[in-house]
C-alpha cells in the first residue's frame, strides 16, 4: 500500500510539473474571426484603415507576410506594394494585380518564393468581396494612394464562398475581431492619450506620433516611458500607470508589435 501511495504521489508530481511547463509559455486564446461590417459610403482612406485591421486579423496575412521588414518571411514583404503593384504584370493595373493576388494567389508567383498562399475568398480565411476591397485599399496605401471604394468592381468578385454580410447602412465601422485600436482601449492608453486628434489629455496626443518618432523610438516610449519624456509632461506617470495595470505582464509580443505599427502609421493631417 505504501508503494502504491508513493507511486501515486510521484504520478501527481510529474503531471503537475508538466502543467507548470504548460503555464510558463505565453497564454493566449484565439477566437474565431468575425466579419467586419462596412458602410456603403466609406472613402478609400477609411476603407484602407479597415483593410489594415483585416490584414492583421481575419485575413491572417501577417502570419506569412511582413511589412517593411529587412528580410521577408515565408512570403514577400508587403512594404511598398502599393507602388510596385502597377508594374508587376503587363496590362494589369495595381488594383487588378492586387485583386488577382488575393483571389488567384498562385497565378503569379514573385520570383524567389514558393506558391502556397490560399485563396482568401475561400475557407478557412473566407473574406467577403467587400473585405477584399478593403484589403486592396490598404495594400495600395503601402507606398501609394488608395483609390478603391466599395463600388469598385473586381473581375473575380462574386466567387466568394461565404457572403456573410452585405454592406451595412451608414453609421460606423466595427472591427469585431479586435484590431490594434482595440488594444489601446484594452490597455487604457486612450484614457491619457488622444489617437484621432491633436490636443493633450494627461499625456500628449498620439495622432501624429508616426511623423515624430521612428518605430524604435515608439517601442522605447512604451517599454521605458521615462527614457525620453515629451517636453511639458511630468516623468514617471506613464511607467507607474502601466506597471499598476500590469501592462508589461499582459501584453504579448504580437500585440506590442501591432500597437507600435499602428502608432507609426499615425501621421496626423499629412
Amino acid at each position: 500500500m505504501r508503494t502504491t501511495i508513493k507511486i501515486f504521489l510521484f504520478t501527481v508530481a510529474v503531471s503537475l510539473f508538466y502543467t507548470y511547463v504548460g503555464h510558463m509559455v505565453p497564454q493566449k486564446e484565439f477566437h474565431p474571426p468575425m466579419t467586419i461590417e462596412l458602410r456603403a459610403d466609406l472613402t478609400p482612406a477609411e476603407l484602407a484603415e479597415i483593410g489594415r485591421q483585416i490584414v492583421a486579423g481575419k485575413g491572417t496575412c501577417l502570419t506569412c507576410h511582413t511589412i517593411g521588414a529587412d528580410k521577408p518571411g515565408r512570403f514577400p514583404d508587403l512594404g511598398g506594394i502599393g507602388a510596385r503593384a502597377a508594374h508587376r504584370k503587363p496590362g494589369y493595373s495595381d488594383v487588378d494585380y492586387l485583386a488577382e493576388s488575393l483571389y488567384r494567389p498562385n497565378a503569379y508567383i514573385v520570383p524567389g518564393f514558393a506558391p502556397g498562399m490560399p485563396q482568401v475568398n475561400k475557407p478557412p480565411i473566407g473574406l467577403t468581396d467587400q473585405e477584399i476591397l478593403a484589403v486592396i485599399a490598404y495594400l495600395q496605401s503601402l507606398g501609394g494612394t488608395p483609390t478603391v471604394t466599395l463600388k469598385t468592381k473586381l473581375k473575380w468578385a462574386g466567387e466568394t464562398a461565404t457572403q456573410e454580410t452585405a454592406p451595412a447602412p451608414a453609421g460606423g465601422t466595427e472591427g469585431a475581431g479586435g484590431g490594434p485600436q482595440a488594444l489601446f482601449t484594452k490597455y487604457l492608453c486612450t484614457t491619457c492619450h488622444k489617437l484621432d486628434a491633436p490636443g493633450k489629455l494627461v499625456g500628449p496626443s498620439l495622432y501624429d506620433v508616426g511623423s515624430r518618432l521612428s518605430k524604435g523610438e515608439i517601442y522605447e516610449a512604451i517599454m521605458d516611458p521615462d527614457a525620453t519624456v515629451a517636453p511639458g509632461f511630468p516623468p514617471g506617470i506613464m511607467s507607474a500607470t502601466l506597471k499598476a495595470n500590469k501592462f508589461y505582464q499582459k501584453v504579448t509580443p504580437a500585440e506590442l508589435k501591432a500597437m507600435v505599427d499602428y502608432l507609426a502609421s499615425l501621421k496626423g493631417d499629412k
Binding site: H23, Q27, F30, R74, G112, P123, A161
Partner: protein, 588 residues
C-alpha cells in the same frame, strides 16, 4: 506454454465480452438514431449543440476521447509486442519469453473492457452534445461503420481466444490467432483514423461538403501518416505502460525471484517503448509534410502560429523521455558485470543529451521583460534566437537519437567481449560512422541557415536518413562482432535501485502526457472548424483555449487514466501473484 487459467478469469471474460457487445449495440442504435434524425427529425435538426453541465461539452468530450485513445493505444499495442515476444519464445524454446508474453497479454483483458466502455461513452456523448457534426460525419462515413463494428467483434473474439487459449492450442495456431488479432486491431485503428483525419484534411467532397468519393474521404492527406505515426506511438506508449506494470510489481515484490522477473519485464517493456520512440520523430516529419501539402495555412497555424509554443512544451516532454530512457539504461548497467568499463562515457552522453535538449527547447521568440527586450533589440535573442529555428532543432533531435542509441549499444555490450579477430577494426569503423553521421547532420543543420526555406525544409530528409542508416549499419556490425562473444559476467536481474523503477514510471507518465498534448494539437489545429474549411464550429467553445488551460485538462486526463491503470494493475496482479517468481526460478 503454461496453462494459467483461473476460475475468476472466466467471470471477467463474461464482463469482457459483455461490455464490448454493449458498446456495439449502443453504437449501432446511436448511428440508426442519427440517421433517423437526419432524414425526418425536424426537431433534432434544429439542435446543433447541447451543453454538458459544469465543465462544458468540449472539455467533457475532450477528456473522454483522450482516455479512450489512451486505452485504445494500449489495447492495440500490447498484442503486437506480445506476439513478437511469444514468437521469440517459440523459436528459442525459452519459456521465460512465453511467460512474459502471457503476462503482457493478461493486462489486456480488463483494459479491453475499459476501452470499450469509454468508446461507448464517447459515442454517446458525441451524438448527444454535437448532433450537427455527427450527422454530417455519419453522412460521409456511414458505410465504414459496418466493417468497423465487424472488426471490433472479431477483435473481441481473437483477443479472448488469444488470452484464454494460451497453452491450449498448438503454438503455431496460437501465434496465428495473435497475428489475426493484430491485423484486426490495425484495421480498427485505420478506420477510426479516417474519421478524425477527414476532419482535419477533408477530401472526396464537393464545395458544399457533400460526399463525392468515399475512398478519397478515407484516404485523405494525413490518413496514412497518422496511421503510421499512431501505430509506432501506440507501441511506444504500450511498452511504457507495460514497463510501468513491471516497475509496480518490482517495487511490490517480496522475493528476489519476483524482483528478477519484474526487473526483466520492466526492461523489456522499456526497450520496446524506446525502440519505437526512435523512429517516431521521422513519422512526425512525414505527418507535418502532408499537413503542409494539404494547406500551408494549416501548417503555419500548427508550427508557426497559434500552436508554436505548444511544440516547446513537446520538446520538454520528449527531451525528458530521452533523458529518463538514457538514465534507466545507465542505471541498468550497474547490474551487468563488466559494464563498469563503459561508465566513463556516461558523462559525455549526458552532456550531449543536455545540450540537444536545451537546443530543442529553445523558443524562437522569447518572453522577455522590458529591459531584456530592449537589450535584445526585440523578441529574438541575438545568440539563442539562432537556435530556435528548425535547422537547429532538427539537428538536435537527430543527435539526441544517436546519443540514446549509443547508450543502448554500451548497455548491450555491457558483459560481452568480442572474440572475432576484426574486433578492433569493427570498433574503428563504428566510431568513424558515428563521427561522420554527427558531422554530416550538423553540417546540414548549419547549411540550412544559408538557403531558402523550401530548400531548408528538405534538408531534414538526408538528416533523418543518415541517422537511420547509421543505426542500421552499426547494429549489423555489432551483431556480427559480438557473435560468440565471451561473457564477462551474468546480468544480475533484480539488483536494481528503486529509483530506476521510478524512471520507468516517469517515462510512462511522460508518454501519457505527450499523447494528451499531441491529441490536443491534432484536434485544436482546426481552430474554429469542426471539419476544416467545410463545417464551422459555431458553439460557445469555438475559440482555442490557452495552452495553460489545455495543460490543466491534459493533467486531469492523465491522472484519471493512471487511476484506471492502477485498478487494472491491481486486478491483473491478483491472478499472477503466485506464479511469476517460481516460474522465473524454474526457467532462468
Amino acid at each position: 506454454m503454461a496453462n494459467c487459467e483461473l476460475p475468476a478469469e472466466r467471470r471477467r471474460a463474461c464482463l469482457g465480452f459483455g461490455l464490448p457487445l454493449a458498446f456495439l449495440l449502443l453504437a449501432a442504435s446511436l448511428v440508426l438514431a442519427a440517421n433517423g434524425a437526419q432524414e425526418g427529425g425536424a426537431v433534432t435538426k434544429a439542435v446543433e449543440y447541447r451543453h454538458f453541465p459544469v465543465i462544458g461539452s468540449r472539455v467533457a468530450v475532450w477528456i473522454i476521447a483522450q482516455l479512450h485513445l489512451m486505452f485504445g493505444a494500449f489495447v492495440l499495442a500490447v498484442p503486437m509486442f506480445a506476439l513478437i515476444i511469444e514468437f521469440i519464445g517459440y523459436k528459442t524454446g525459452d519459456k521465460r519469453y512465453d511467460q512474459l508474453a502471457y503476462e503482457f497479454t493478461r493486462l489486456l483483458s480488463v483494459s479491453f473492457s475499459f476501452t470499450a466502455s469509454l468508446g461507448a461513452l464517447l459515442t454517446f456523448m458525441l451524438f448527444i452534445l454535437y448532433p450537427k457534426v455527427m450527422n454530417y460525419l455519419t453522412q460521409i462515413f456511414s458505410w465504414t461503420f459496418f466493417p468497423y463494428v465487424l472488426l471490433f467483434f472479431l477483435e473481441a473474439v481473437f483477443l479472448y481466444s488469444y488470452y484464454y487459449g494460451w497453452g491450449k492450442f498448438h503454438p503455431v495456431t496460437h501465434l496465428l490467432i495473435g497475428l489475426a488479432l493484430n491485423l484486426v486491431g490495425i484495421g480498427i485503428i485505420f478506420i477510426a483514423d479516417a474519421w478524425l483525419t477527414f476532419m482535419n484534411t477533408p477530401r472526396g467532397i464537393d464545395q458544399a461538403g457533400h460526399l463525392v468519393n468515399l475512398w478519397e474521404a478515407i484516404n485523405n492527406y494525413i490518413w496514412m501518416p497518422i496511421n503510421i505515426h499512431r501505430l509506432i506511438a501506440n507501441i511506444s506508449f504500450g511498452g511504457s505502460i507495460a514497463a510501468a506494470y513491471g516497475a509496480y510489481r518490482f517495487l511490490a515484490s517480496s522475493t528476489p525471484e519476483e524482483r528478477a522477473h519484474y526487473d526483466w519485464m520492466g526492461y523489456v517493456g522499456n526497450f520496446i517503448a524506446i525502440s519505437a520512440l526512435l523512429p517516431l520523430p521521422f513519422a512526425g516529419y512525414w505527418l507535418g509534410t502532408e499537413i503542409y501539402a494539404y494547406s500551408q495555412t494549416l501548417g503555419v497555424v500548427l508550427m508557426g502560429g497559434t500552436f508554436s509554443w505548444l511544440f516547446i512544451i513537446q520538446a520538454v516532454l520528449i527531451g525528458n523521455l530521452f533523458l529518463a530512457a538514457n538514465y534507466y539504461l545507465w542505471v541498468s548497467m550497474q547490474r551487468i558485470e563488466g559494464a563498469e568499463r563503459y561508465y566513463r562515457f556516461i558523462k559525455y552522453l549526458l552532456a550531449s543529451i543536455t545540450l540537444c535538449f536545451l537546443v530543442w527547447a529553445t523558443p524562437h521568440s522569447l518572453v522577455a521583460t522590458v529591459q531584456e527586450a530592449r537589450a535584445m533589440g526585440g523578441q529574438h535573442h541575438p545568440i539563442l534566437g539562432v537556435l530556435g529555428v528548425m535547422s537547429a532543432k532538427n539537428t538536435a533531435v537527430n543527435i539526441l537519437i544517436l546519443t540514446t542509441y549509443i547508450s543502448f549499444l554500451l548497455y548491450r555490450r555491457g558483459n560481452k567481449e568480442p572474440t572475432v579477430s576484426w574486433a578492433r577494426t569493427g570498433n574503428l569503423i563504428q566510431f568513424a560512422i558515428f563521427a561522420f553521421a554527427v558531422v554530416f547532420v550538423i553540417f546540414l543543420g548549419v547549411y540550412g541557415y544559408f538557403v531558402e526555406a523550401k530548400v531548408r525544409i528538405r534538408l531534414s530528409v538526408p538528416q533523418v536518413l543518415t541517422v537511420l542508416l547509421t543505426m542500421i549499419v552499426v547494429t549489423l556490425i555489432d551483431v556480427f562482432m559480438f557473435k560468440n562473444a565471451r561473457i564477462k559476467g551474468p546480468i544480475r536481474w533484480g539488483e536494481m535501485p528503486a529509483r530506476s523503477q521510478y524512471a520507468l514510471f516517469f517515462i510512462a507518465i511522460t508518454f501519457a502526457w505527450t499523447m494528451g498534448l499531441m491529441g490536443y494539437v491534432r484536434s485544436g489545429m482546426r481552430q474554429h472548424w469542426h471539419v476544416y474549411n467545410v463545417m464551422k464550429d459555431t458553439s460557445p467553445d469555438a475559440y482555442t483555449p490557452t495552452l495553460g488551460f489545455a495543460a490543466n485538462v491534459i493533467t486531469i486526463t492523465v491522472l484519471i487514466f493512471f487511476s484506471f491503470i492502477a485498478v487494472i494493475f491491481w486486478l491483473t496482479g491478483l491472478t499472477s501473484k503466485k506464479s511469476s517468481g517460481a516460474k522465473w526460478e524454474a526457467s532462468a
